[in-house]
Symmetry: C2
Subunit: 515 residues, 2 copies
């Protein structure tokens, strides 16, 4: 055992080496995204999928989708041959599937560091952080409104986390900045404090344009027109409605060849039926309409079909996560989108719990498991989501990121090489002995098992003598150590200056507002 | 929303109705075991399975298995045509698979209440509680040694939990009773305080015989000889060894037509190679040898192949759970055992954490997910396991049991009936409206979603005003309410008297001992 224990000691949690490892977190060897080597978990039969597809077609033909307050979009649909009645648009059977033939099955989102480029679609999975919470929570302060400092912190933590592949978007809402200008600081934070791919602003058409213009400064104008450097979240106002804000942002991004994630946002029982099959038919109809629209605006523009799905507490009306129904929805939706032939976004480390406790962890694990096993391509809310998305939690971010590492390793399946088969070890050890010091163990123990940074594996006595900390308390220490050792990735000073100039000029060109 | 909210109020957590619901917990409508309606998650390719099977055959032929200190068993192997060299037994290729042809692919374990009978094998999954911990933990007392009162409490909680199908065995070790007599009180507790199926004693051959004799009192002598009323855990001393204690118990149970779960217990890196494929080949070899032995003792005796698998912390030597490697092992082993054609036991709600915190929940969810999705037939440690199996946790028992309910619902897959498709709801509601009050929602909201007893779905403000409790604190209240409202299932007074007489007579026939 001595060899192993001694080797192990070099890997311990504390001390100088550990601090260096934390500082160099972003350099931990991990693939920039998951290319799965395991089969998909598919819960729905072929017959069931056809039933749901037929129901979606019926919804599109008979009921239709509303595109609100956007004459341009209604005109686009009319010209394309849809039946436009006021804001209601109905689609002849097969029309949307035909339009979607130009959408790529898989595309690259480029990062400013090419080693961080991600492949979205196919057998790939990309993890991005939590998106959208107005509050943050940590053990020290409890729950309070988020600020731009928190925003930068989450960008930094995502940058340093080897199994978070994407910098995300609204990692928390920076409530201390004016609503109509905070997008500049948000997009800049992703560009400056990380070198991973990121998301753009969708809260107004001109803010989407600002995002694209900033991308042009960072990547160059021609590059942006020909390549995807930005991906943005376009939520449907389920049921069966898209509003003008989202449509305005969608048009900007699609025209500029930047990716949209068109996402029905459905709390079943409120924005969709209280049944998975009903929710799925509606979601498929909404996603097909929204994604096909991008292809009318710019054929070939990258687009992702999304589905944010939760069940609902019939007592409180709150969205509930990690329950069987959203799992069935996510799994079946994955199958439907693979058949449709476009990348799929869903899932995450979702929970309803207010604190990073056992409820949060059960719910999040029950969410991320189907997310990965069913083959979701783009995973928003991969880390840090708390309280139904009302809070970004520092501690949960750390705990979730650790779980994402486990999912990434699991997605690589079983090692059947000679070294993986380990028959030399079985022969060397034999009945009644142990493997602790055998040659195979000595060659493989450092990488044999996924090594959690958060879990405590010490003896009861040692754990108690170290303060009997729970997982959230350990995560609290880890995130502070990470932020303390953060070093920004290098950026061309000329580009940084140009970005800052662009922002400054735009910011002074119109007054602050909180709308 | 009013209709739903009012209906919902009838289902609330507090009050008289809730207390009655708790008291009648065992009457909650839930199937007595899972008959899955979803496909298996299978992570290993056909080619990979064949490789592992060939390696297992090589281990059996070349290295062999040791059967220690049991001349009778060695004689049985010799007579059957194995190569016996001292205690080492080597098996000609194909011999064990041939012997296993008499083992049932699926069998019924009878309970004294026929409504609780479980079907073990095939597409079925049976959940049993934690097995083996010397300690218990609760929020009030922390960690202390278990007693027979704790033992009875866990039997009662399992009895009242609708998604725990089996009363289990050593739900905690009753350390306050003498080692050589505590099995009487343990088996009696299962028989008297529950009416679900249970497990027998394995700590000595005569204690196994006592279990069988008590079963004969409860079920009748002939019934026991012809039917399985007891299932017991026979661990291999991995690597590649069975000891005399386990062999003695195995012989008693197999001879009496009672089920054995022959389980390689492998912490990879210590009792098996630090690789899933290596661990699997060894485990398959061990399981085949142990299960085939039961068929030599009594052809047709029910037998389950088990695998208790964990990875190992190379820092502390502790078993680690909920990591990718045990998931790959459990999934692949499920595939191997289906090919072998005998029921499979593995998994559970396993964790290393010392407390029912986020680490415990992440680990347990990461364990129970593959357990169910990969089709494990008998799930020991389904609820209450803490601290690598050193503690039975009251609070975690409640939280895990809630998760088991979610897994049971998930295993039933998607509802594709007309009511499940909900097209009437989509037509009634239409774009931009909500589903809260529509006819389909009103018909389905009570059973539409799995309803957690532990999760808090209230608003942040309400949760805070109710004391800002975390999941473990809520579970603490729930288990106390359950125990306070427990009512024992009826038993024939004559049978109960006969059982108590048998125990009393046996107890006074030999002196107490702690060996």
């Amino acid at each position: 055992m001595n060899d192993v224990a001694e080797g192990g000691r070099r890997n311990r949690g504390g001390g100088r080496d550990a601090r260096r490892a934390l500082r160099e977190g972003a350099k931990v060897e991990a693939a920039p995204y998951i290319s799965r080597k395991i089969p998909y978990l598919e819960l729905c039969s072929e017959e069931g999928l056809v039933t749901i597809e037929n129901n979606a077609d019926t919804i599109l033909q008979e009921i239709g989708i509303e595109f609100r307050d956007d004459a341009e979009v209604l005109g686009i649909w009319k010209d394309a041959g849809a039946d436009v009645d006021g804001e209601r648009v109905r689609f002849p059977k097969g029309m949307l599937r035909e339009l979607l033939k130009t959408a790529p099955r898989e595309f690259t989102q480029y990062a400013r560091n090419p080693a961080r480029n991600v492949q979205i679609g196919g057998g790939n999975t990309v993890f991005a952080p939590v998106y959208g919470p107005p509050f943050i929570r940590n053990l020290d302060e409890g729950r309070r409104y988020g600020t731009i400092d928190d925003f930068r912190n989450f960008v930094k933590l995502a940058y340093m986390s080897p199994y978070i592949h994407h910098s995300g978007g609204t990692v928390c809402e920076p409530v201390d900045l004016p609503v109509n200008k905070r997008h500049f600081d948000m997009v800049y934070s992703h560009m400056r404090y990380s070198d991973k791919p990121f998301m753009g602003s969708v809260t107004a058409g001109e803010r989407a344009q600002d995002t694209v213009d900033m991308c042009k400064v960072l990547f160059g104008e021609d590059f942006v027109d020909q390549n995807t450097v930005c991906i943005s979240l376009i939520n449907a106002n389920s049921p069966m409605t898209f509003d003008d804000t989202m449509l305005a942002a969608l048009k900007v991004y699609a025209r500029n060849n930047q990716a949209c994630i068109v996402t029905p946002f459905i709390i079943s029982g409120a924005m969709g039926p209280v049944s998975p099959a009903g929710t799925l038919a509606q979601a498929l109809a909404e996603a097909m309409a929204g994604t096909a629209l991008t292809q009318l605006i710019r054929p070939g523009a990258p687009v992702v079909a999304g589905l944010f799905s939760s069940s609902m507490s019939m007592q409180s009306g709150a969205p509930t996560f990690g329950t069987p129904e959203p799992t069935i929805v996510v799994s079946t939706a994955s199958q439907l989108m693979r058949r449709l032939g476009i990348p799929f976004r869903s899932g995450g480390s979702l929970c309803t719990s207010k604190v990073p406790d056992a409820q949060a962890a059960y719910e999040s694990a029950q969410s991320i498991w189907p997310t990965v096993m069913c083959g979701v391509n783009f995973v928003l809310h991969g880390a840090g989501w708390l309280e139904g998305g009302l809070s970004s939690s520092y501690e949960k971010f750390i705990m979730d990121a650790d779980q994402l590492g486990m999912m990434q390793k699991l997605s690589q399946g079983i090692d059947l090489s000679d070294e993986g088969q380990a028959m030399d070890a079985v022969r060397e050890v034999g009945p009644g002995n142990h493997y602790l010091g055998c040659a195979h163990t000595r060659r493989n123990f450092e990488n044999g098992f996924y090594s959690s940074k958060v879990a405590d594996y010490n003896s009861f006595e040692q754990w108690e003598s170290e303060g009997a900390l729970d997982a959230a308390q350990r995560a609290n220490k880890i995130y502070k150590e990470m932020l303390a050792s953060y070093e920004a990735p290098a950026i061309d000073p000329g580009v940084d200056e140009a970005l800052c100039e662009f922002i400054e000029k735009r910011k002074v060109s119109f007054p602050d507002s909180n709308v």
